[in-house]
């Protein structure tokens, strides 16, 4: 695993690798190098299976983190490729030509985070939501509780609590 990272570091701009487990490593790669690195991993290093592709919203840093988790079944190892995007203009190169299911993941990311993948098939079609008009719901600045209370009729008589506060009141009142 270490050897792999060293090989990658020679070719691509790979930074802060974290060995989470013996068979699982996460590292960050520069956005410009990302698709080249992923193609390299798939073609040369045997990481042929894309487990998933998802995003994390780092609202405070103004960044989106894309995570591609690639799996090498011969080596029994995973690498998580982190790519950071600018939160203002989140655009990323598509990898749908490498894996068929990547198009589906990218459709979901476009809908749920608003990250664009130009060229990905059916990227603009709604995937899960229908008639959504607010900001993409998985972004951190979207308040689901507020939206729910404004849109759907809360039943009178049901007092709704914030789960964390309520647990504190009920279970640990003295703290």
């Amino acid at each position: 695993m270490k050897a792999l990272i060293e090989r990658l570091e020679k070719k691509f701009r790979v930074t802060d690798p974290v060995m989470q487990r013996a068979d699982e490593t996460f590292f960050t790669v520069d956005k410009a190098d990302a698709v080249a690195l992923i193609t390299h991993l798939r073609e040369r290093e045997g990481f042929t299976h894309l487990s998933f592709l998802t995003a994390v919203d780092w609202l405070e840093d103004g960044k989106f983190q894309l995570t591609y988790l690639l799996n090498n079944n011969a080596m029994k190892a995973d690498v998580g490729v982190r790519v950071f995007l600018d939160r203002e203009r989140p655009v990323m190169e598509s990898v749908h030509h490498l894996w068929k299911q990547a198009a589906t993941y990218q459709r979901e990311l476009k809908e749920m985070f608003g990250i664009d993948f130009p060229g990905s098939p059916r990227i603009d079609e709604p995937f899960i939501l229908e008639g959504w008009h607010d900001i993409p719901p998985y972004r951190r600045d979207f308040d689901t509780k507020k939206y729910s209370e404004e849109t759907y009729f809360p039943r009178p008589g049901r007092t709704t609590h914030d789960p964390a506060d309520y647990m504190k009141q009920k279970l640990y009142p003295e703290e």
Binding site: K145, Y152, F153, R155
Partner: protein, 213 residues
């Protein structure tokens, strides 16, 4: 169906002739639902008995609750004993079982299914999520109260309700019907505008006629 399919358009037929198509006029009927008066008392109570003893459920698993519908219909609980049967098409069913939470996307289909059913028709709502949102009370995509959108006859509580409580719920529904209180369809027709306003408030891309039977 997307809203694009429902726009007026000019079509060239197989024989080269051109003609206009307005799907909203051609495929749907835009009439309001009507209230139906019950027949005279004795005859109606006989009919109500028959309606109660023959509940045909629409086979639409809208949420988690659908998972307990299979045990309900199979040897352990066997709801067929009580005249509860299962039909695949809304036209032939009388009971719409809402199996738990409804996302906005499903609610649209549920409304269409409900309106296509022939009356008297009943709505049974399973689980806490149909009552007040339950587990998903703060979710941006699931409704909190079903009775704002459809006339609900019976709520069955639990997350999820066990088949025993489903059977008890259906018995309660039967009792309501025998007493002549299962008039959800008339309620819907009477308060049609209110229901429609609520439905349209959350279904943003309303691309169907107001009442599509």
């Amino acid at each position: 169906m997307s809203s694009k399919d429902l726009e007026k358009r000019r079509v060239t037929g197989p024989d080269g002739e051109q003609f206009d198509v307005d799907p909203m006029q051609d495929y749907f009927c835009q009439e309001r639902p009507k209230e139906h008066e019950p027949a005279n008392r004795i005859w109606e109570s006989f009919l109500n008995w028959a309606r109660a003893e023959s509940l045909w459920i629409l086979g639409y698993g809208t949420g988690c609750g659908a998972i307990e519908m299979r045990p309900l219909m199979t040897p352990r609980f066997d709801a067929y004993r009580y005249g509860i049967q299962w039909r695949p098409t809304p036209r032939q069913s009388n009971v719409l079982v809402i199996g738990g939470y409804l996302s906005v996307k499903t609610l649209k289909r549920v409304i269409r299914s409900y309106e296509q059913m022939q009356g008297p028709k009943y709505v049974v709502a399973l689980g806490s999520c149909t009552i007040n949102g339950g587990m998903y009370w703060d979710s941006y995509n699931t409704i909190n109260r079903l009775d704002k959108y459809l006339p609900v006859d019976i709520y069955i509580t639990g997350c999820m309700p066990r088949p025993e409580s489903l059977l008890a719920g259906f018995e309660a529904l039967k009792k309501l019907i025998r007493e002549g209180k299962g008039e959800g369809q008339n309620l819907y027709a009477r308060n049609f505008d209110e229901y429609k306003a609520n439905q349209k408030k959350i279904i943003r891309d309303w691309d169907m006629p107001d009442y599509n039977w």
